[in-house]
């Protein structure tokens, strides 16, 4: 099942708290913002949950499929061991 990054908007703090205590949504607390008309927070949810949140009265903006988008990041990881030669040289010195 796809996991989707969404932005949720609710009318008050109580509704934003309900995301966790009633709906069990995995929110990112650091993204909570107070707006002129209520609050918003980002979350990652299974795709199937989005409709339930809309039915519960939240405004939902859908963003990326996080697992698909994250695959690009793997290219940013080091291959091999950049310190291996240096470590081998120190071990040689020790002998």
């Amino acid at each position: 099942m796809s996991r989707i990054h969404i932005t949720l908007r609710g009318s008050d703090r109580e509704s934003m708290a309900d995301l966790v205590r009633v709906h069990g949504v995995r929110v990112y607390p650091q993204t909570l913002k107070e707006k002129t008309e209520g609050f918003q927070v980002d979350a990652v949810v299974d795709e199937a949950v989005i409709g339930q949140l809309v039915d519960a009265g939240y405004e939902v903006d859908q963003h990326e499929d996080v697992d698909e988008a994250a695959q690009d990041s793997l290219q940013q990881v080091g291959r091999g061991n950049r310190f291996a030669a240096q470590a081998a040289a120190f071990e040689e010195d020790e002998r």
């Binding site: 650091q30 697992d67 990041s73 940013q76």
Partner: protein, 402 residues
């Protein structure tokens, strides 16, 4: 340039503790093997007589927050190279004279554990970049999870510490606590407090670091410097209103800012002196970050609308309240980096974008350590700082009696 993989973090740590640095470094092998059989290591940096204080730096707890070990390895490399060669440090906003480098190493017990969750990091860097937890396998009879290749559950290490871990009992049923009893949740607290080898390694090291007086856990994202407590708002006047008091079970975790306020009026006790110090040193880090590359981090209490339980910084700080023989360890969590266009990029920015973050957080850690080392090396009457709970505003007034 690229993120350090699991093996590279370990090799970098061993290199920092090589024979040329033996006079002021010690490689520490942690006693608990991870679920996948990996050995974890930390480094202690100090020279000379017993230290007057210490700082414990932790990273790599959440697997997908790739930059945290890189930050701590950068910090260790700069410090050990500079001390060995008698030079200062200059890098992306950090400027520390050789005398200040000596002051840190000679007066502080520095404990750096950069990669607390190597299994999770390896999984995140090779299979599932969004993986957060450790790699605890599913137990006999447990349902497999739809994420993590069905090998779950995995435990969120930073919900597994023995601080209000039993949240269904300790918190109000109305509290939106960001933890879970569901093994397939990415914030699963684990089957028992400190059930995980990775958690036990962190606490083992704390037990054996009697000079440590500050603890900083490096995470992402959000550009925040968070201080104790994370379970509820802070208060400085009533020591009996505390996590230790079972009379408040079922009442914690509703911040005052909730509409209608907190019906239970619960706030977690934090002595004013500690609050002042936490805010003051948080501001030192904030200013160093701003000076590095102009980014503004917020200094604030860890609780927001969403309280937490079982976290490292609150556990570290809670210990001296439970056992007066233990040194007080004030706790921080740094959430590096801004939110970016996607959640994955927020956790693992392209490496060129990670470089200034490494530099700014390194600058913050040096400013923090230098301030504490300076206090120990040059004790003088302190200033009184009057702070308000939950605020980073402060006023100062001289007292001269400390």
């Amino acid at each position: 340039m690229s993120y350090l993989n699991v093996a590279e973090v370990e090799t970098a740590l061993k290199l920092a503790a090589r024979p040329a640095n033996a006079g002021f470094t010690k490689l520490i092998t942690l006693p608990h093997l991870t679920w996948e059989g990996r050995t974890c290591r930390a480094i202690r940096i100090h020279r000379g007589a017993p230290a007057g204080g210490g700082v414990y730096l932790l990273g790599g707890v959440h697997a997908r927050e790739w930059g945290s070990p890189d930050i701590l390895i950068n910090f260790v490399q700069l410090l050990t190279d500079a001390y060995r060669t008698g030079s200062g440090i200059s890098q992306g906003g950090t400027s520390l004279g050789a005398d200040k480098v000596r002051e840190i190493v000679d007066h502080l017990d520095l404990v750096v554990f950069p990669q607390a969750n190597p299994d999770g990091r390896h999984h995140s860097m090779t299979v599932d970049p969004m993986w957060r937890k450790n790699r605890r396998p599913a137990g006999l009879g447990e349902r497999p999870c739809s994420v993590g290749d069905g090998d779950g559950p995995g435990v969120d290490i930073n919900r597994n510490y023995d601080f209000l871990w039993d949240f269904p009992t300790k918190f109000s049923p109305e509290a939106p606590v960001v933890t879970s009893t569901d093994p397939c949740s990415e914030i699963y607290r684990g089957p028992a407090a400190e059930s995980e080898p990775e958690t036990a390694n962190v606490t083992w090291l704390l037990d054996r670091s009697p000079y440590v007086s500050y603890f900083i856990d490096i995470h992402s994202f959000g550009e925040d410097i968070l201080y104790n407590w994370g379970d509820d708002d802070d208060q400085t006047t009533d020591p009996a209103m505390s996590f230790r008091n079972p009379g408040f079970d079922g009442k914690r975790g509703i911040p005052d800012s909730t509409p209608g306020g907190d019906p239970e009026k619960y706030r977690e006790f934090l002595p004013a002196e500690d609050l002042n110090d936490l805010i003051g040193l948080g501001n030192v880090m904030r200013d160093a970050i701003q000076a590095a590359h102009g980014r503004h981090y917020s200094v604030k209490g860890a609780v927001g609308l969403y309280p937490t339980s079982g976290t490292s910084d609150d556990y570290a700080y809670s210990r001296s309240f439970l056992d007066a023989r233990k040194r007080k360890v004030r706790g921080y969590t740094i959430e590096w980096g801004p939110q970016r266009s996607t959640i994955p990029k927020s956790f693992h920015p392209d490496y060129p974008d990670m470089v200034p973050i490494i530099e700014e957080v390194t600058a913050a850690l040096f400013a923090f350590c230098s301030t504490i080392a300076g206090r120990i090396a040059n004790p003088r009457p302190a200033e009184r700082v009057l702070a308000q709970p939950g605020s980073n505003r402060r006023q100062t007034a001289p007292i001269g009696d400390r």
